[in-house]
Assembly symmetry: C2
Homo-oligomer: 180 residues x 2
């Protein structure tokens, strides 16, 4: 039986941070860029201003038009040939996001399908061999192998294998497998 991979959506498949920067800059009258967030001090400065205004995540439409990360579509498609792939998104906190996330997946990852899509709060009751996620809270209780997808809000997190791109995941989960 193929091994099972659970893949998060926000800031793993979707560049949620890009949209957060865009909307936050609009509200705050600032001009933070992703490059700014590469400096821990600057990132802290941004997130301090972002957290009080982050209610916009609950607004209709926020999750519908997020950009897809480079190579995510091709690599997930290739992973699906070797693994059982589930998309697992902590989405029940954001009721408006649910239909938008299904539509977004249908647009960009139509080969996944509703049967392999999971919207939840906690993720620790998901049984899988791998979890690719940007949040420590999701990885910490996961019993399989966790891969931390690098993001400005997780620079401080240690103790997990950090991955920086879908090309790197391809190397890790497909090419190494082929060599073995």
């Amino acid at each position: 039986m193929n091994k099972r991979i659970a893949i998060d959506m926000d800031d793993v498949l979707a560049d949620t941070t890009a949209k957060i920067l865009q909307v936050s800059n609009q509200i705050l009258g600032t001009s933070y860029t992703r490059a700014d967030l590469a400096t821990p001090a600057k990132a802290a400065e941004f997130y301090q201003q972002y957290y009080p205004i982050r209610d916009f995540l609950h607004e209709k439409g926020f999750f519908r038009d997020l950009p897809v990360f480079d190579n995510a579509i091709d690599v997930v498609k290739r992973l699906q040939a070797e693994y059982e792939v589930f998309i697992v998104s902590a989405a029940t906190e954001f009721p408006n996001s649910l239909t938008e996330k299904l539509e977004w997946l249908e647009e960009h990852f139509p080969f996944i399908g509703w049967s392999h899509t999971v919207f939840c709060g906690h993720k620790y009751m998901i049984k899988a061999d791998y979890l690719i996620d940007d949040h420590e809270k999701n990885l910490v209780k996961f019993e399989g192998k966790g891969l931390l997808f690098d993001a400005p809000h997780n620079y401080h997190v240690q103790g997990y294998q950090r991955v920086f791109s879908w090309k790197e995941i391809e190397g890790l989960l497909l090419e190494k497998k082929e060599e073995a």
Copy 2:
């Protein structure tokens, strides 16, 4: 650590069959009752007519006003004191249902919360000690103890402990536990 129970929504917490009968009778010009569905022949007759018209499940509003089964609220609340309770609904097939199901849960089971609500397709990647469900397809690959919630569409299913009411579940999972 408390044992974990995964509880299905449709035809387990919610009397989905009641609404299916109501809408089907309206469309078909029939007058089937739940009592009719107690006879396998009559049930087969109804479901033969229902399956071709069941697209109404996808219509907006269908899942929002389902009746709650007797004693479900009280027993789930009591279970929550002894177990970790997750609501696990195969809902991603019905995009319109997602927000409606969250709202329905918030109305009738506000003590569950989004963190313990899971919307999925397949359920076999859910890690729990018990799964209470009306569908064999969900129970068959489940690795914990499955309880089949009796419903007209599962009369033919064998090989699972069948439960008929929330009072019976209370006896099984709470009172027996207290005696032990």
